[in-house]
Amino acid sequence: MRRITLPRMGYSYIGFRAVFDALGHEFVEPPPITKRTIDLGVKYAPEFACFPFKITLGSLIEALSTGKVDTIITAGGIGPCRYGFYGVMYEKILKEELGFDFDFILLDPPIKPYGNMKKVWDIVLKWKGELSWREFILRLTKGFKLAWRKLKKVEDLEALILKKRAWVKDISKVEDLFNEAIRKINLSMDLDEVDAIYKEAKDSIEAIPDDRGDVLKVGIVGEIYTILEPFSNLNTERLLNERGVEIERSVWTTEFIEYNVFPGLPFPLKQMVGWKGKDDIVKYSKPFLNEFVGGHGRESVAHTVMFKERGFDGVVHILPFSCMPEVVARGILERVGRELDFPILSLSFDEFTGEAGLITRIEAFIDLLRMRRRMAA
């Protein structure tokens, strides 16, 4: 049995927990991100590394120094975003510089020259361990099914509270219900039970009466980690909600997996999971950005155009400082905003971002949106 951990990203740990539990390994939940995590990461990461790398590195150092972890697992990648190289850097820094001893598993896709089928096969054998093939596949499918259902339901709830918090004055009631539901979903081991918890939480959150009017609608686009991990963006979404802005996110963990893992699956599996293709992204990002630039760069542009067409008031673009794909997107969003007459606020985050400056910018943006509404009326 292995004791595994993964860096924290929003609520994704719920899904990983389901998979590893099903395989009979212990999943050590990563500690929540705090100021200390970021300080640790900043200390040991390369100076210009992206902010998500610094946070996740700090999170791994915290987890390893508890001594409860013996395996770290990370997805690799084939670029051109820097994310694909995180694994190599984790290993170099944690093993060579800090001298931690652990088993590191890097899931690289079997694409030359970054990985090959043999590496993938070795990892599969490692996970199979003593189990028989039949048992292994059964457990794996069961684990993935449960993880997928849990992640979907958690995300549905998140999407719900991102809307609901804007309509009520006392948001703590909404959040209490939400946190309770998340806790229960994390512990549940049964598909139907997950559904039941979700339904109950949804009904009770929706039952809270709205006591606020004149709510703006804003879309969120940008880099996935900084959006999903509230500590890294200083809880921007909550700050917006508190000021009467309803939010719709465009990136989610499950969507990320659908777009980045599903296309690479072999023939029958791809059809089984229902791969739909990425046509809408390609369609909407034209003529502004005509090529995939890595990460969520293209999605940021496409979703901004979609939000405009759906009649949103504006878009907030969240990116970590010096993120390569999002910097390209940011340059292009300037043109999108100009040509479509659409307000876009780009917020970049790193370890030096202060809350006061952020709030000022958000409030100015909201004032602008309200003014535009009044002018249009």
Partner: protein
């Protein structure tokens, strides 16, 4: 038609090839001048916030050409390596679209340039766009390749890219070269992207300064491609960007050579790829106990500060070599 090719980013090593190619097809070509204050200011004003100085400069160069030419020739660089999956930095991939934010007339095609077939297919696509036959494209391609190979060879001998290009295209022999004149002088390796180390304005003529201070200089462009490729084996997964692979490979190889006395890594502020490149080189330099200095340039870098650092570093290198002149 009059085409303009902006300098900056990875267009730098391809300028000769494209200029000869387009001129052979009967168009006139203007290459933007070497970076100057005006171009930098324009780029910083219009360019993307948070982007590296090279991207801002690239936009500055394109803005310079905007009103002087009919069309900006800005292919989307997708691949320069034999492996199709090794690509270039996202900023290169988004560059034509970033130009389009300010400039309506941009001719852009996806450029896969890693092998003969891919290059040929790219050039024939350009030919189709310009309505010329395949045979003419083939002829122009041959000439372009020959010229660009000559420039590359000259660069290997230590000539600077701009001067080498002028020489190949009919100018006179340049006076400045990095070629070793005195073997006894200490050797400093300068690694970094060609669009930074050869840009005299951005790097404050770092190469020339080193030569004038009495050093032999080696750059990645002066090395054999095979050597660089070999050295990449020490990395158990190559980076995703061919330009970075070249720098890392060259640095790894040079650090293993006993005759190299020190290394300077020149990188630009907020360059995404250099976050990994820099720390990989740093870890490797520690292993081989070679002095390493990392210079980060941006639009605010002052020459005096750079010179001070350079002098301190060169003193250290000389001292280690045992012939201090202080």
């Amino acid at each position: 038609m009059k085409f303009g090719i902006p300098r900056g980013l990875y267009y730098e090593p391809l300028l000769t090839e494209w200029k000869v190619f387009l001129e052979d097809l009967g168009h006139s070509v203007e290459i933007s001048p070497p970076t100057n204050k005006l171009i930098l200011d324009e780029g910083v004003k219009e360019g993307v916030n948070e982007a590296c100085i090279s991207l801002k400069l690239s936009i500055g160069h394109a803005m310079y050409l905007k009103d002087r030419v009919d069309c900006i020739f800005a292919p989307r660089l997708m691949n320069m390596d034999k492996y199709k999956r090794i690509t270039l930095c996202p900023k290169f991939r988004g560059l034509p679209d970033l130009f389009r934010v300010f400039i309506p007339n941009v001719l852009s095609l996806n450029a896969y340039l890693g092998s003969f077939e891919r290059r040929l297919s790219f050039y024939s696509k350009v030919g189709r766009e310009l309505r010329v036959g395949f045979l003419r494209v083939l002829r122009a391609y041959r000439r372009a390749r020959l010229a660009s190979k000559k420039v590359k060879e000259l660069q290997r001998d230590g000539f600077l890219p701009d001067e080498a290009r002028a020489w190949v295209l009919g100018g006179s022999e340049p006076s400045f070269t990095l070629k070793r004149k005195d073997e006894a002088l200490p050797i400093i390796a300068v690694v970094g992207y060609p669009y930074i180390i050869y840009d005299d304005y951005v790097s404050h003529s770092l190469l020339k300064k080193l030569v004038n201070m009495g050093f032999n200089v080696v750059t990645p462009e002066m090395m054999d491609d095979k050597e660089i490729e070999e050295a990449l084996r020490y990395l158990w997964k190559p980076l995703f960007w061919s330009q970075s692979n070249k720098v890392v490979g060259a640095a790894f190889k040079l650090l293993r050579k006993p005759e190299i006395d020190g290394m300077i890594h020149v990188s630009s502020f907020s360059c995404g790829t250099d976050a990994w490149v820099g720390s990989l080189i740093e870890l490797e330099a520690k292993k081989f106990e070679k002095p390493l200095m990392r210079i980060v340039v941006d639009e605010h870098t002052a020459e005096a500060g750079l010179v001070t650092r350079l002098e301190a570093f060169t003193d250290l290198v000389r001292w280690r070599k045992g012939r201090a002149v202080i």
